[in-house]
Every structure is written in C-alpha cells, then in structure tokens.
C-alpha cells in the first residue's frame, strides 16, 4: 500500500448523531397564503411533499391553479396600493427586521424542516441556509429607507407587484433572496416555491402572518410548472424574478416577450474550478470537495468542472480520492452526514442518466465505496477522470455530486477552456500567487469568482451570472436594482 494513502481498512464508522424532530410541527395539509390568510385552492387539489431520504409523505400542499394565482396577484396589488406604498419606508424596514428576528427564534425548526423536505444535511441547513436566509432579511431591512443613496442622481421607485419563482435546492434561502429586496424596495410579491420543497416557505408564511405584515404584501402560491406558468403569464404583474434552469429561463423570457414585464433570471452554471501547481494542495482539495459536493451538488454555482495543472494532477487526484472515501453519505438529519439525499426521484434519474452518458463518452468513472441507504434517493460522490471539453458531462449542468476532471498546462489554456461554455455563473481559482488570482479572475467570464475558497455567500455580496447563466444580481447594493425603477 502506498504509504501516503489513508488506510480505510480500519474503522471509519461514526456513532449516529441524529438531530431531534420533536420540537417541529408540520401540518397534515397546507393551503395557499393569500392576502394574509391561508386559503384553500380553488380547484380543491393537493399534492404530496415527501422526505427524499425516506420516501415518506410529510404533508400535502395546495396545487395552485390560475384562479389561485389571480387571487394572489389581486391581493398583492391591493396591498401595494392600499398599505405597503402608504407606509413610511422606515416602517417597511422595521417589518422586515421583525421578520428576521422571528426567524432567528425558530431557526432550528426551519433547519430541520428544510432537511426533511429537501434532503440536505442538517449541518448545512443549520449552519448555512437558515442563518443566511435570516441575514438576508436583516441586511435588506436596513436598505428600505436608504435606497436613494444606492442610485445617485436618481429618484428610485418600486416596480410594483413581482411574481417570484424559486427552485428546490435552497428553498428558504431563495425565498429570502427574492422576498427581502423586493419588500425593502417597496414592492409586493407573489412567490411560488418549488413543488418538492414547499414547506419552509409555508412556515415562513406563518411567521409573516404572526409578524403582522399588512395582508397581501407577501403571497405564497404552491404548485408545479403549470402554477409557475400561470404566474409568469399573469397580466397583473410588473416583474418576474426566476431562479432555476437555463431552459426554463429561456421559456420565461419568450413567454413575456412583448409584455411590459421586467425580469431577472438566475439560471444554471457549469463552473470551472482551476487548481494551479502553486496552490496549497490540501486546501484546494477541500475546496474542490466543497465546490461540488456541497448540497449534493444541487448548486447552480457548483464547481462541477475541475481543471488541474498537469504537474500536480497525480497528487491532487490521489488526495481527492482519499477525501471522497471519507465522505459520509446518508441520513440528512445525522450531524455527521456530509452528503444527504438527492432532492427527488426525478433528479436522481437525471443524474444516473448522466453517469451512463459519461461512461459511454469514454470518461473514467470513479466513485467512493460508501454504502447507500436502501430507502430514499442517494448518489455516491462521483468523479469523471480524463474528460474532454466536448463531452456532455463537461458541457451540461448535471446538478448532482458529479465532478468532471480535466488537466491544463498554461494559465491561458485554463482560462480559454473555463470560458468555453454558454454558462457564466461562477468560477474558482486556486494559487498562492496574488497577481495570478487577479489575472485569472478578471479573465473568467462569470459573475462570481472564488479565489482560494468556494461556495461562499453573503447578503452583502452580489450574486448572478454572465451569458446564459442569467441576468440581474441578487444580494448587496446591486441586488436592489431589479426591484426599482427610476425613469
């Protein structure tokens, strides 16, 4: 055995450390949240939301029809005209602050429900998703009465009523990214959570009601694609904000062509994570792991294309394989778990299809030897070695724990291959040389660059894509722009 390799024959078992579920409450059924009330769906139809780690039903949720969407848009418009726009900006800000504080009180409950409904590890929902969502509300609350300072020389006004559609990978966090800046800028919203992960948004609705926000300022309509389409096509909206796939983003841009609706789109990615030979290799390996396996790889900015400089390729791959072997895949509620459940059967099927495609394309598949739970949707952390630029596993977003690996010789080669994709959301650079960081990060055509780190987020840091990864920014001062008009 290679003396540098870890010995996995010894015991690597951890005792179970499950997070308790006793303190949370999930209703048997959830209605839409419209005009400050929980309202049964017009058509009377509901759909199940399950725990992807056990395939057990958690609750059932109202299926939104165009009637429900219409009711929500009318409520949002009425709230805009009658209450929200009449409030002093500082008072609007205080409502948002209040919401952030109430979320903090119930942070643990949000974290557990997020992990149950979406399959992400409790460590992540507890330490990343929920605190960041709260921080987002807290950050934008303070902007409410300061917006004119963000747009020098202009008199900013709210856009009006925004329709917001969010994905299943960061359900509560995406709700916060959408709702907080919209409200701070003086808009009212109709939000549609993803159909596999509606619960934390509905929990948030309970808090919004308890926080006494004027009825109709935030409305939440649940449902799948048809509900989203009804929202996008509703003539009563002034703006559409969407986070999801590039494919659906294009459909939305087409659907609202010729209408007066504004839009911002935060779409897919296929980020390059570039490791130079002078990088701190152990740190870089941690960064690679965090870049692609964080949240099971269900991350639009995931570092799903690894570029390693040839001279350190063998070392990086050996360490990466060892690190893969130590990753614990399993119960999302266990505090030791590194990789939780794939969000849905549909997504697992998609990932599995890509694993077959990669092998058929001639890439070398490597997976850790971990055992997967018998029930639920799980996928082993996966590397594809010796990939080439034209392969589908290199070009297309897989949205799972699958990393394609390529090598390069010169920085110019790395940059040109990193940019050779229709996407442009994010990228990573690992090197010990400061000037090289700036050279490479400037040359990458993408909206976020992590240098010697990866997958870091903050409410004050604008996030969003170049090219087909979307348009508009969320977070920071620049994240206000999509919710104001000034002409």
């Amino acid at each position: 055995m290679d003396p540098k390799s870890l010995d996995f024959k010894t015991s690597w078992e951890y005792a179970p450390a499950p997070e308790g579920k006793e303190h949370i409450k999930i209703n048997a059924r959830y209605e839409h949240f419209i005009g400050g009330e929980f309202v049964a769906p017009a058509k009377g139809r509901y759909f199940e939301t399950i725990n992807p780690a056990t395939e057990e039903k958690l609750s059932e949720v109202a299926e939104g029809s165009s009637e429900d969407v219409d009711k929500a848009v009318v409520a949002a418009r009425a709230a805009l005209d009658k209450s929200w726009s009449k409030l002093r900006a500082s008072e609007r800000g205080k409502y948002i602050y209040r919401l952030a504080r109430m979320m903090q009180e119930r942070a643990r409950e949000f974290a557990v429900i997020e992990s149950l409904d979406g399959g992400k590890t409790i460590r992540e929902s507890r330490d990343v998703d929920v605190p960041l969502a709260i921080a987002h509300f807290f950050y934008y609350a303070g902007w409410a009465d300061k917006i004119r300072y963000a747009f020098p020389g202009k008199t900013p006004r709210p856009i009006g009523v925004a329709g917001q559609i969010i994905p299943w990978n960061f359900p509560l966090l995406m709700a916060a990214w959408k709702i907080a800046p919209a409200l701070a800028a003086g808009n009212t919203v109709v939000l549609k959570p993803a159909e596999t992960t509606p619960l934390t948004a509905l929990k948030l609705a309970e808090l919004i009601q308890a926080a006494d926000l004027p009825p109709g300022v935030v409305n939440i309509v649940t449902g799948a694609g048809a509900t989203g389409a009804a929202l996008v096509n509703h003539p009563g909206l002034d703006k559409i904000a969407f986070t999801g796939s590039t494919e659906v983003g294009k459909l939305i841009q087409r659907a609202i062509a010729g209408s007066r609706k504004r839009y911002t789109l935060e779409l897919g990615g296929k980020a390059a994570n570039i490791i130079f030979e002078d990088a701190a290799i152990d740190q870089a390996v941690e960064g690679i792991v965090n870049g692609i396996f964080f949240n099971q790889g269900h991350v639009c900015c995931a570092g799903s294309r690894l570029f390693v400089q040839e001279s350190v390729y063998d070392t990086v791959i050996r360490k990466l394989k060892d690190r893969l072997e130590t990753l614990i895949v399993g119960d999302p509620l266990d505090k030791n778990t590194d990789i939780g459940a794939i969000n849905s059967k549909m997504q697992l099927d998609k990932i599995s299809a890509y694993l077959k495609i990669g092998v058929a394309e001639g890439a070398e598949l490597y997976q850790s030897s971990c055992k997967l739970p018998k029930k639920g949707f799980f996928c082993k952390p996966t590397l594809f070695l010796h990939c080439s630029q034209s392969q589908r596993i290199v070009q297309e977003e897989i949205f799972g724990p699958v990393l394609s690996v390529q090598t390069f010789r010169t920085p110019e080669e790395a940059i040109s291959r990193a940019n050779n994709t229709p996407y442009g959301l994010s990228g990573g650079v690992w090197t010990d040389k400061g000037s090289k960081i700036f050279k490479v990060s400037n040359a990458l055509r993408c909206g976020v660059v992590w240098a010697n780190t990866y997958n870091k987020f903050d409410p004050s840091a604008p996030f969003g894509g170049y090219k087909e990864s979307g348009m508009g920014r969320e977070g920071g001062l620049h994240g206000l722009q999509p919710y104001i008009q000034y002409n």
């Binding site: 921080a135 020098p152 020389g153 202009k154 590039t246 983003g249 294009k250 459909l251 841009q253 087409r254 609202i256 062509a257 010729g258 789109l265 779409l267 229709p422 960081i437 990060s441 400037n442 055509r445 993408c446 909206g447 976020v448 660059v449 992590w450 240098a451 010697n452 780190t453 870091k456 903050d458 004050s460 840091a461 604008p462 996030f463 969003g464 170049y466 090219k467 087909e468 979307g470 348009m471 920014r473 920071g476 001062l477 620049h478 000034y486 002409n487």
Partner: protein, 306 residues
C-alpha cells in the same frame, strides 16, 4: 511624356474647365464600416436615398445578414483588446472621436440638412453629438468608481464587486435621429468596453457613414464599432437571434418589433434594452445608467489570512 506634351495637356484641361464654367462635384460612395474597413455589402445591393422632392441624393448599401455576421465576427475579435484597454485610454479615444467630429462639423451639418433638417436643427444636432461623445469620454474612467462596491461580508474575506462589459452589443439605432441618436447608444456601450455592431437609421444614414470616417481617424481599434446600413425589417431578427451577441439595444416604439426582439433574444439570453423615448436632445438621454445597461457585475472573494 515630353515636356511639350505635358504643357499641351495642362492647357487643354484649363480650356475644358473654362468651357464648363462649373467644376463637376465628386460624389461620395457610402459604404459599410466593418472591422475598420469600408466594404460594400457582400450582397452587392443598395437602396437609393432621395430628397423630399424626389431628387437622388445617394446610393446606400443595403446590408445583408451576412454583412451583419461578418461585423459580429469583427466585434468579437476586437472585444478582448478593447475591454482590456485602460479606462483612461478608452476615454481618450472617445475624446479623440469628439475632436475629429468637431473638425468636420460643416460636413455633418450639410448631410443632416440634405436629409431634411433645417440649418439650426442640423447645427444643434451636430454640436450635441460632439458634446455627447465628450460626456461619455469623461465617464469611461469614472462609472466604475460610482457603481462598484466593497462588500462587508460576515466572514474573513475581502469581497468586492466590479463592472465588466457584457461583450458584443448589437444596436438598432433610432430612425429619426441619424447622428445624435446613433452616438447616444454607441458611446455608452463603447465607453464601458463593449464592442458594437450598429444598424444606422434607414432614412438618415449619411451622417452615420461619415461618422465611421471619424472613427477611422480616432485611434479606435478596428472592429470595436461596426456600422451597417440597410433595412430594420430585414435585419432586426438576425440582430436579436445571433448566438454570439450578448446584448441588444433597440431604439423605437414599434410593439411588434419589440416583441420580436425580446422573443429572439431568448435564444441565448441576451440582455435587451428598449429605448422608447425618442427625444435624444433631452438631458435624461445622457446618463451613466445608460452605460450600466451593457455591464455585468462580477463579485470576487479573497480569503484574508496568513
């Protein structure tokens, strides 16, 4: 040719000129401006420009889809170099464009008059066009400071967001303002580091073509600004659907055209800017926010540590 022969020829020319009394004017061939050169349309088509009373003014190139694609190739090739210039240098080149335009004001006034403007209208438009170039020349090295940010993230990282040009922008210049309108959309995009392909006004194309001669003498790298003439009806869809164009600026208010542009732009998620206000002389029409329309925000994270 002997000395005597040469002398005889000069005498002959003098006689001829005297006989005609008036000198024959030299007509200008109005051509496209692509990659720093002045080609004719590859389609070898033209359209005749006539004055209100039906007199022939000039023949103008009827640019084709292929001309547009050639222009995009030139713009793409020019983009990294132009975006990589220092902001100071871009500002200087825009200022140089204003200098060249200023020196040829008489020609622009005459061309605008030829196409129906009154003397004073033509003088105002030309003067404002020069001033607008100077306005954006000044912004080239300032908008970054106004609109970028250092972000106080709650972790040990130095985090900042800065602006970068979107890439290649296709511009459908306003129909009713042949010079000032064109410059009002070209200058902010180019000041921000984009390269552009612009379709000039169909009915007022003369000043646009002559403006390309200004560009040609302004140290502007080839391909940064490409100017086409032709019909919007024929080219609009291609401007909006081209897969190597990153942003589209549409000037006008035709609902069907706007819909087409937005629909086709979805092909590769172009940024679409609709400029419906046609008063190009208003104060509002020059603003650093116009530069922002073809900029992207890049956020960079750097760990802080030893």
């Amino acid at each position: 040719m002997s000395k005597a022969e040469r002398k005889a020829e000069v005498v002959d020319l003098k006689d001829r000129a005297a006989a005609r009394q008036e000198r024959l004017p030299v007509l200008k061939t109005y051509k496209l401006f692509i990659d720093g050169k002045f080609p004719r349309s590859e389609s070898e088509r033209y359209y005749a420009l006539t004055s209100a009373n039906g007199e022939s003014i000039a023949n103008v190139q009827l640019g084709s889809r292929k001309d547009f694609r050639n222009a995009v190739v030139a713009a793409r090739k020019a983009f990294p170099g132009w975006a990589g210039r220092t902001a100071y240098n871009r500002g200087q080149i825009l200022y140089r464009m204003a200098e060249m335009l200023e020196g040829r004001r008489a020609q622009f006034i005459e061309e605008l008059e030829t196409l129906g403007a009154s003397r004073s209208e033509a003088e105002t438009e030309t003067a404002m066009a020069v001033d607008r170039l100077i306005y954006y020349a000044g912004w080239a090295d300032k908008f970054q400071q106004v609109f970028s940010s250092v972000n106080p993230v709650a972790s040990s990282h130095f985090n900042f967001s800065m602006l970068e040009p979107t890439g290649v922008a296709a511009l459908l210049a306003p129909e009713d303002s042949g010079l000032l309108g064109l410059i009002s959309v070209v200058a902010p995009a180019v000041a921000g580091g984009n390269s552009v392909v612009v379709l000039a006004s169909h009915s007022k194309p003369l000043a646009a073509i002559t403006f390309s001669e200004v560009l040609h003498t302004s140290d502007l790298p080839a391909g940064v600004i490409n100017i086409l003439t032709g019909t919007r009806k024929e080219l609009l869809k291609h401007f909006a659907s081209h897969m190597d164009v990153n942003a589209l600026v549409y000037c006008g208010s035709d609902a069907e055209e706007i819909r087409t542009v937005q629909l086709e732009a979805a092909e590769n998620l172009k940024r679409v800017v609709i400029e419906e206000n046609s008063d190009w002389q208003s104060e509002e029409r020059q603003s650093p926010y116009t530069i922002l329309a073809t900029q992207e925000v890049k956020t960079t994270w750097h760990p802080i540590g030893l």
